[in-house]
């Protein structure tokens, strides 16, 4: 048996010890591989939206990569800790530090290469699922094709990752004395001390962060975001390292509770391990919060569809400017499409005037009050009255409504020299988004005066109830518009002589983008979730031998099966759900802040995401508990 064989045997004859480490590494490789397969799929390289998805995948994939690095690094260090005793024995047999480093390096490379191979092989099968599910969500047909680039990228990048990590392992073993290694994790650790000041700081930081998040509005959220995140992260750290110890110490002082039946064992053990657990709790909590928020905020973009509908009161709109010679041809075509689709619609035509604002040097779209009222009546919006140079601004879409200040201001029209006075914000939009910008409603008197100096446009709006059926209406005009834009891509000054918007078309695109984002987020969320689960698993595994000893000692005094199960279950419950509950609370406040950006409630979406994660965690808890109890019972009998 040479040295390499020794390392090899070490791994292959100790499968169970290495299993968790190996599986989580292989899982990371697999996810990375699936992302690559989708991102490099040839059918993902065409078309604007799909190409964007491919970009999103690439970003998600590198997030997974960076995260995998830290995750595997943590796994290795947890794993090496459980083997301290073994290293002590090896050193007693005369193994040098150099050899030991080489051993660990070799072992890690064996596991690394094995997990790359297994991850890719399983990934080849799972990629099929990924392509079908991803393709369905993105509404593109993705055939089963593995780009060679995906293979080489996954293999190469993880090979580098494992070399770097294997290299870093030598710093983890350090230059510990043999006796320390032999004692391993069994040497008693002192209880962590809690500082009242830092405990208070944790409470204040978290409370403050929550308060700011809950009261944030669309205007302040940008400035508050970073400080709130920093406050929450620092607050969480001290929550687990200080406040929790402080609370446990308080509980311990209450003997009536602490000395009741199994509480004595459960709580003292919790306090004893708090120092190790605190860091793990913190990590799991932050990782879970990131996962919850990422998936949750993307899920909540689902409500944007509703907001979009409100920005397009006319589902199909056509704009014709003065120099447009094909207006009647286009409109005929659109109406013919309606006929084909058997759709019933209301048709409205309105005139827009264009001038330039002296203050902002940008174009304004002017609509007369009577025209506004005509459209408003159709949309069940109250009419407005304007006299003289009084004017009102109108948002060009639904979200803009909140940003548009109600303050009074002057608008001087450059072309006609007329000074308008804006007296408020008109309800709206009454014209679909994309038909004009910087809307100002003016009185009919002013319209008379500026007729001559203005360019004109005519907007034809079609309003229909069953608009989903009219998805294909005006596609021809739309294509023409798109090709015009493509032809004039370099010329920024040029404007087409006509415009066209279709809500159905827009929503289809929006939905597709949303699905892509959701798909990437769910995959990233899954990685983070599995990772936090593995953190817990390693924690348990590291302590398993010690736990067995402890329960054996208590068992000799006489511990009923029910009591054993109660102690172990309570400890597992705390281990699994304390960080998750804190993460959920964090996320709820994050969603509250996000809500301030949205006009429609995202509570439903947020609830679904958090509920989904909680259910997954409960299932994971049950599975782990079952295995853990089996181990303990084996040790006891």
């Amino acid at each position: 048996m040479n040295f390499r064989q020794f390392a090899f045997n070490n791994v292959f004859r100790n499968k169970r010890t290495y299993a968790a480490y190996f599986l989580s590494s292989a899982f990371s490789v697999m996810i990375f591989f699936i992302y690559s397969v989708i991102a490099f799929h040839p059918e993902m390289q065409e078309g604007m939206v799909v190409n964007l998805a491919s970009q999103a995948m690439k970003i998600a994939q590198w997030i997974v990569y960076v995260f995998s690095f830290f995750f595997i690094l943590y796994s290795v260090s947890a794993f090496l800790k459980t083997r301290q005793h073994e290293f002590g024995v090896l050193m007693m047999q005369g193994m040098s530090h150099r050899q030991m480093n080489r051993l660990v390096f070799l072992e890690n490379m064996i596991i690394g290469i094995a997990s790359i191979i297994v991850g890719i092989v399983v990934g080849l099968v799972m990629a099929k699922v990924g392509l079908v599910v991803g393709g369905n969500m993105m509404d593109v047909q993705l055939s089963y094709y593995i780009a060679p680039k995906a293979l080489t990228l996954t293999g190469g990048s993880f090979f580098v990752l494992f070399i770097v990590i294997s290299f870093l392992t030598q710093f983890m073993i350090g230059k510990s004395k043999v006796i320390q290694l032999l004692q391993g994790t069994n040497k008693p650790k002192p209880e962590p001390k809690a500082s009242l000041l830092l405990s208070l700081l944790a409470a204040i930081l978290l409370g403050g962060g929550y308060f700011l998040a809950a009261t944030a509005n669309a205007g302040t959220i940008g400035i508050l975001m970073l400080p709130v995140i920093v406050m929450t992260i620092i607050g969480s750290y001290f929550l687990f390292t200080q406040l929790s110890v402080f609370i446990i110490n308080l509980i311990k002082k209450n003997r009536n509770f602490f000395w009741r039946r199994t509480n004595l064992i459960t709580i003292s053990d919790l306090a004893y391990r708090m120092k190790d657990n605190a860091r793990m709790f913190f990590m799991v909590c932050i990782v879970s919060t990131v996962a919850f928020c990422a998936v949750g905020s993307l899920a909540s973009f689902g409500v944007l569809g509703k907001q979009t509908e409100l920005s397009y009161p006319f589902q199909i709109s056509y704009l014709s400017k003065e120099d447009n010679k094909r207006a009647s041809e286009h409109l005929d075509r659109i109406e013919a499409d309606f006929k084909n689709a058997n759709a019933i619609y209301e048709k409205v035509t309105t005139t827009v005037l264009y001038q330039t604002s002296k203050q902002s040097e940008s174009g304004v779209s002017l609509l007369s009050a009577s025209e506004y009222n005509k459209l408003a009546a159709l949309l069940h919006i109250d009419p407005i009255q304007l006299k003289g140079t009084d004017a009102m601004v109108m948002p060009h879409n639904f979200e803009y409504k909140k940003i548009l200040g109600a303050g009074k201001r002057d608008i001087t029209l450059k072309e006609s020299g007329i000074k308008l006075r804006s007296i408020g914000v008109a309800e709206g939009p009454v014209i679909s988004q994309g038909m004009g910008s910087n809307w100002v409603i003016i009185s009919d008197e002013v319209v008379e005066k500026i007729q001559g100096s203005s360019k004109k446009g005519i907007i034809t709006g079609y309003r229909l109830d069953a608009w989903e059926d009219a998805k294909d209406v005006g596609q021809h005009v739309n294509e023409e518009l798109k090709s015009w834009y493509e032809a004039h891509a370099e010329d920024r000054e040029a404007n087409p002589s006509f415009g066209f918007t279709s809500l159905a078309d827009l929503l289809a695109m929006q939905n597709q983008m949303y699905s892509i984002m959701m798909f990437s987020a769910l995959l990233v969320g899954a990685v983070f979730f599995i990772a936090s689960g593995s953190f817990l698993y390693f924690r348990l595994y590291t302590d398993l031998e010690q736990d067995k000893e402890r329960y054996k000692a208590i068992g000799k005094i006489g511990l009923k099966d029910k009591e054993l199960s109660k102690i172990a279950t309570t400890q597992l419950l705390l281990l699994f759900f304390i960080p998750i509950i804190v993460a959920i609370i964090h996320s709820v406040f994050a969603f509250m802040a996000l809500q301030s950006l949205m006009d429609l409630s995202i509570a439903g979406q947020a609830f679904k995401v958090l509920g989904g994660f909680t259910v997954a965690q409960i299932i994971y808890f049950m599975a782990i508990r079952w295995r853990y109890m089996k181990h303990l019972r084996e040790a006891l009998h």
């Binding site: 008693p188 002192p190 209880e191 003997r255 009536n256 000395w259 009741r260 039946r261 199994t262 509480n263 004595l264 064992i265 003292s268 053990d269 306090a271 004893y272 402890r550 000692a553 208590i554 068992g555 000799k556 005094i557 006489g558 511990l559 009923k560 099966d561 029910k562 009591e563």
Partner: protein
């Protein structure tokens, strides 16, 4: 009255080759008696203790503790029985290092759900008697071996067990601590009248017993009684030990 009765106890470890460890042991221990069990390594003395402690179950024969055969009990009932009727002192102390000395002592009572007031007063009283009051708030790894064993003894007797079982209680201790621990056990035996059974290698520790039985190859070999003088009793034990080892081997392990 007999507190412990062992009838024709047989234990065979099944495996590829069945290994008989105990070959029909008969033993009776009176209430209040302090019995020592001695014998060479592999003689089966710890196995005997484990049977009595109900940690291990016999192949045949029976163990009667206070008129009751615990081996017929179900698992949970057995745990309760151990907790209420038996006390244990181990060579490796088996203290929980997550608990303070006081918490270790009251552990059996907390599992029984005794009131905190009673637990505290019992623990204080016992600590006073065993001289460990100053270390009650210390954690178990901060104290010396002798203190650990006295803590373990306090834990073993706080619930007033019918039978106290000790497995090499002085095995990990220096001679001064051994003396302290044995005097503590003797004191408990004399003043509380607790029945005790102790497995030991240490002739000095055994000299505190009322009676010492010798086991060899799974059978009772010899038995001697303390007549009141510990020096004499110690000498008798040494003689018995050397006689036992001189029986079959050419070299005496203990030279007198």
């Amino acid at each position: 009255m007999e507190m412990l009765k062992v009838n024709k106890l047989v234990k065979t470890y099944e495996g590829k080759v069945a290994t008989p460890v105990l070959k029909g042991i008969n033993l009776a221990v009176r209430q209040g008696e302090f019995v020592g069990v001695m014998g060479p390594s592999g003689s089966g003395k710890t196995t005997l203790l484990n049977m009595v402690a109900t940690i291990d179950s016999p192949s045949s024969g029976e163990v009667i503790i206070n008129g009751m055969n615990p081996h017929t009990l179900k698992k949970d009932k057995l745990a309760s029985f151990r907790r209420r009727e038996l006390g244990f002192v181990f060579q490796s102390f088996n203290l929980l290092n997550t608990l303070t000395v006081e918490e270790n002592i009251v552990l059996p009572l907390t599992l029984e759900g005794v009131s905190v007031r009673k637990m505290r007063s019992d623990a204080r009283l016992l600590a006073d008697r065993l001289g460990i009051t100053p270390i009650l708030d210390k954690r178990s790894y901060e104290i010396s071996g002798g203190q650990m064993q006295r803590t373990a003894i306090a834990r073993a007797i706080i619930h007033r067990p019918k039978l106290l079982l000790a497995d090499e209680p002085t095995g990990n201790l220096d001679s001064k601590s051994s003396k302290d621990v044995m005097e503590t056990l003797e004191n408990i035996n004399k003043s509380d009248g607790t029945t005790m059974m102790m497995v030991t290698h240490d002739a000095f520790a055994a000299s505190y017993c009322d009676r010492v039985i010798f086991i060899k190859d799974g059978e009772l070999y010899h038995e001697i009684f303390n007549t009141g003088n510990r020096q004499v009793f110690f000498q008798q034990i040494m003689d018995a030990l050397s006689m036992m080892s001189a029986d079959h081997s050419e070299f005496s392990t203990v030279r007198v």
